[in-house]
């Protein structure tokens, strides 16, 4: 069984068709990249997967479970986690609190009231912080982190819930080469625990870490394959590879 299956999903906004019968899939421990020019429907496709918008047509299966019309919170409970394009972390909270917010999301209100899981999570917070190079900043406010660190924090928050599927929307936007390289390592590490879907502008980055790449153009998947296959595809060349 595939981890995630997106079967000919269409999303229309009024008269505008943003995604047109797009199909992708992800296997366990696989990193799949989704590329395409701005406005090609990458983000929209990702949103139908994460539940921000509901697909007009088509079907989305997570481990065989139909999640096409589920709420985001149900998808999260089913094992999906996301990092948004612009890091959406809690800037007025400390790094520790941010991680805790993610960790305790599925706790019941009653257990939250009793601070029951605090001790349990403490260890996990430390591990995560070490992994994402945030250990020194645990008690700093998230707003005082650098741009790259904020991105990492959000990935860490996504990983905190031990997801089976990790969705990353432009994880390297605005990062320095060093940070980018580190991010690649982090994502590779993460993929040992789950499947990863990355939407990204940066072709080099995608080529480097993805097992498979799908190219989206004007709402259609025009090619899917390994990076070598993609690079050879004439259609892809035409719309994409001449661009920086």
């Amino acid at each position: 069984m595939k981890l995630l299956e997106v079967n000919s999903v269409t999303k229309k906004f009024g008269a505008l068709t943003a995604v047109d019968k797009a199909s992708i899939f992800i296997n366990q421990n696989e990193i799949v990249g989704l590329i395409g020019p701005n406005g090609s429907g990458k983000s929209t496709l990702l949103h139908t997967v994460c539940g921000r918008t509901i697909a007009t047509e088509g079907q989305i299966l997570l481990q065989g479970l139909d999640i096409t019309k589920q709420d985001p919170q149900d998808r999260a409970i089913a094992g999906m986690a996301i990092k948004f394009q612009l890091a959406r972390i809690y800037l007025e909270k400390t790094v520790r609190e941010n991680l805790l917010i993610s960790l305790q999301a599925k706790e019941t209100i009653w257990s939250q009231l009793r601070n029951k899981s605090l001790a349990k999570f403490e260890e996990k917070i430390t591990t995560l912080a070490d992994e994402f190079q945030l250990a020194d900043y645990l008690n700093e406010f998230a707003k005082s982190l650098s741009h790259g660190q904020q991105q990492w924090l959000e990935i860490a928050m996504a990983m905190a819930s031990d997801p089976i599927l990790l969705l990353l929307d432009e994880p390297t936007a605005g990062m320095s080469p060093k940070e980018r390289a580190d991010t690649a390592i982090l994502i590779k590490k993460a993929s040992k625990k789950c499947g990863v879907l990355i939407v990204e502008h940066d072709l080099d980055f995608i080529k480097e870490i993805c097992d498979r790449i799908s190219v989206l153009h004007q709402g259609n998947i025009i090619a899917t394959g390994t990076s070598a296959e993609i690079e050879k595809d004439p259609k892809v060349k035409e719309v994409y590879l001449t661009r920086v």
């Binding site: 999260a76 305790q104 999301a105 209100i109 257990s111 819930s161």
Partner: protein, 279 residues
Amino acid sequence: MLSVEMCWGQAGIFTFGQAALFGLGGYTVGLITKNSSITDIGVLLLMAIVIGAVAGLIIGIFLFSGKRVGELYVVLVTLAISYIFERLANSWTVLGSGNGIPGIPSPTLFGMEIKSIIGLFILAFTVFALILFICIFLVNSQFGLTMNAVRDDEERAEFFGYKRSRIQIVVFVFAAVLASIGGALFAVTESFVSSSMTGLGLSTTIVLWVVLGGRGTFFGPLIALAVLQAVNTKMQEVLPSLWPILVGLLLVLAMIFLPKGLMSLPATIRESLRKKSSV
């Protein structure tokens, strides 16, 4: 007041309807004492809690279950609820048709009557302190963090798997219970309830305290309350007709210059000083 701070400050639910729930608590006590011989404060508060919770639950479910609604919608609905409740309190004979329910007997505790002002003050203060303690505990608990998470970014929280609507309903019910207890306490200490304590006036006054004190901080609104009430009484003697205008102006100025409330005053001053010195 704590109720609005919980709702708005901590969980980001902007409500203008707390007065209706305050009134509900008050009228609950009024009706019970009028129609039965129950005066035990414990029983009365319990009833107020139950009624407040039920009302909060109904409104909360209506507002927050299912799809998200805009905050302006919440404002409008709570405003309308306050309005409807005030209207009912004015017209409904059972509720005293605008005159309210007078002559609520002094409360008893384990059969002992609390009659003196000091006694009532201690009673009110004890309940208040208890509630404040619970609030502080709540805010500092993991659930407090959850509330903040929902306040700062509702959608993000959903993507972590938080059951947003359930959390908002719980907070709203809790706030409703607080308001209801407040109303009940008011009723027993002042020994009457009337429609003017349910209306828009009170709702907006409470919001004003929270705004001036600083939303998201607990003791900001408390200080604003203490200061404003003290000033209020004095000013109403000195400048009776100008005072409401001054309050309005104060609020406008606060909105412009101190959007985060009084509690941010020191920080704001520091900030502007730093700016000046660096120029």
